[in-house]
Amino acid sequence: MKELFASTCLAAAMLTFGNAAQAANCGDVTIASMNWQSAEVLASLDKFILNEGYGCNAEIIQGDTVPTITSMTEKGQPDIAPEGWVDLLPDVVNAGVANGKLVVASTVLTDGAVQGWWMPKYLADAHPDVKTIDDVLKHPELFPDPEDKSKGAIHNGPQGWGGTVVTSQLYKAYGGEAANFTLVDTGSAAGLDGSIAKAYERKEGWVGYYWAPTALLGKYDMVKLDYGVPYDAAEWKRCNTVADCPDPKKNEWPKDTVQTLVTKAFSERAGEDVMGYLNKRAWSNDTVNKLMAWMTDNQASGDDGAKHFLEENEAMWKEWVSPEAAEKIKAAL
């Protein structure tokens, strides 16, 4: 249903904007906003900068990863997907680039989308020797299981997530059970978030699965654990991501690449300035986490978030834009 809705939006947007926008400079631009917070604020940011700094007429349309990127390669609309999770559909993106339909701009999340096992920062500061998963497994007393204080607990995500399967397999691979740890099924995203919030508000021990960029990690400072081994793609595919695989090995959790995708047509008509911005604009997960935490705390929309970012991080965004554009954006704030 969501996809249907998204494609309807896309179709409507195409009718509206498809034929326009042959004007000089960039003219009309459609920017795809995805239905999660980080993509929403990034789309709002692009809209603000393109409109105010480069005199475009940018519009945001709602979409989801798969229909948006597919529509960009097939129909050449929307023009920009600021947060494209290219690993989710590598075939479509590669084919689009090869056929000259898509251009890959900046790797917008410089750290990539990170999944893994995390522990609270206050705990890492208090115990600087605990850095890897193996270190954690040596200290069950730091991460007590609420239902059996003699054991440690590793919090897993809810059933049905890819990350939950990997966490279970890593628990097996690193010998969690032998190390006197239990794997706690938190049951739902809300349960997982709640368990972190509870531990954090009371400065208790917590270790478990999470991912960035997320508002929660902006609000609660967490440290990702190291794996102690390098990434082995073949093993990862063979066993770490397969729920029934009996003999998983230690492995590192690979990052998802998140890039800005632009249609070829737009990249040609937009001009060097705009493309220069889209090629340079990138931020770290830390920045995004903080921004999303601010948005969550203030129940702010993407537009509010973008404005807040521009006001607070002038040094960062000045690097991305031309000096003239920077002046205009500053004036618009």
Partner: protein
């Protein structure tokens, strides 16, 4: 004319401040009293853990015999006992024994707690219209408020696991117990009470010897409803980390494992029917016994 088409509402800034203030207040409360509250619920948690260990770590034939014995003493009906044993054997054969025992243990504790807390509240409600007027809206809220709205604050206070699960289940399952206790006592014939008064019964004697026995069929119906509603909450409770049959159901839903979902769903239905038939038969027997005494 703008005000005619968009409802005049509190301005965005103050609304946001209000929400923020409440959120902050709750977080402050969590920090200040979370540990204390957790300590209060500690005995309950021990009881839950003990009950689950008993059900899962005792050898299965002993548990099976125990449940069959309970079913026999409650119902004195060999058909119900046979049905119980066959259902449990089937559940075990399809490899759901551990999850089922965890669920049975949870439901058992929830039901006991609902009865222990619910009956006195029901009695208090039946004795005073004012109490009834206060408690009724509270029960309405408990039955209609979407569970996750209060579950997340509870998780913030008590963490994930059995105790928040128990609270969620009891909040949902206790209202029929309270309502039907209240109703049962209020429906006792006024003439009978007058007769009790004429014999010089004290309030306590009236309650114990007249009102409660006569209200018993209604109260048993309440117990039965409480058990059924507690079982219906199994899946919701598993969303905050309660183990049992709910977890495989959640897994089945998110992965579209139809068979897994149906097996575990049927196991929930199976134990619901066992609980239902045994408690109904017990209630019926209890009333027969009373009739003999009075007769």
């Amino acid at each position: 004319m703008d005000w005619l088409f968009s409802f005049p509402h509190m301005d965005d800034a103050s609304l946001r401040d209000l929400k923020k203030a409440i959120d902050e207040g709750f977080r402050g409360f969590t920090r200040a009293y979370g540990d204390g509250l957790e300590a209060i619920f500690e005995p309950l948690q021990h009881f839950l853990i003990w009950s689950e260990r008993f059900m899962t770590q005792t050898p299965w034939p002993i548990i099976l015999l125990l449940i069959a014995a309970v079913a026999w003493f409650a119902s004195r009906n060999w058909k119900i006992v046979a049905g119980t044993v066959v259902t449990l054997l089937l559940i075990g054969y399809f490899d759901m024994w551990d999850d089922t025992m965890k669920t049975v243990s949870m439901i058992f504790v929830c039901t006991v707690l609902s009865i222990v807390v619910g009956i006195p509240i029901g009695i208090a409600m039946s004795r005073s219209d004012r109490v009834q007027n206060i408690v009724n809206p509270v029960l309405d809220v408990m039955q209609t408020m979407p569970s996750f709205v209060y579950l997340i604050p509870v998780v913030m206070l008590l963490g994930i696991g059995k105790v928040p699960g128990l609270i969620a289940v009891v909040i949902y399952a206790i209202p029929p117990m309270i309502r039907l206790t209240n109703l049962g006592i209020r429906l006792v014939d006024k003439d009978v009470l007058e007769a009790a008064d004429a014999f010089g019964s004290s309030n306590w004697q009236k309650l114990k010897n007249v009102q409660m026995p006569l209200a018993l069929p209604t109260i048993m119906a309440g117990t039965n409803q409480t058990i059924m509603m507690a079982l219906a909450m199994v899946v919701i409770a598993s969303m905050i980390g309660v183990q049992g049959l709910g977890q495989p159901v959640l897994k089945a839903i998110s992965n579209q494992y139809f068979t897994l979902g149906i097996f575990n769903g049927l196991a929930i239905v199976g134990i619901a029917i066992i609980f239902d038939r045994v408690s109904q038969a017990f209630g019926a027997r209890l009333q027969k016994h009373r009739e003999v005494v009075h007769g």
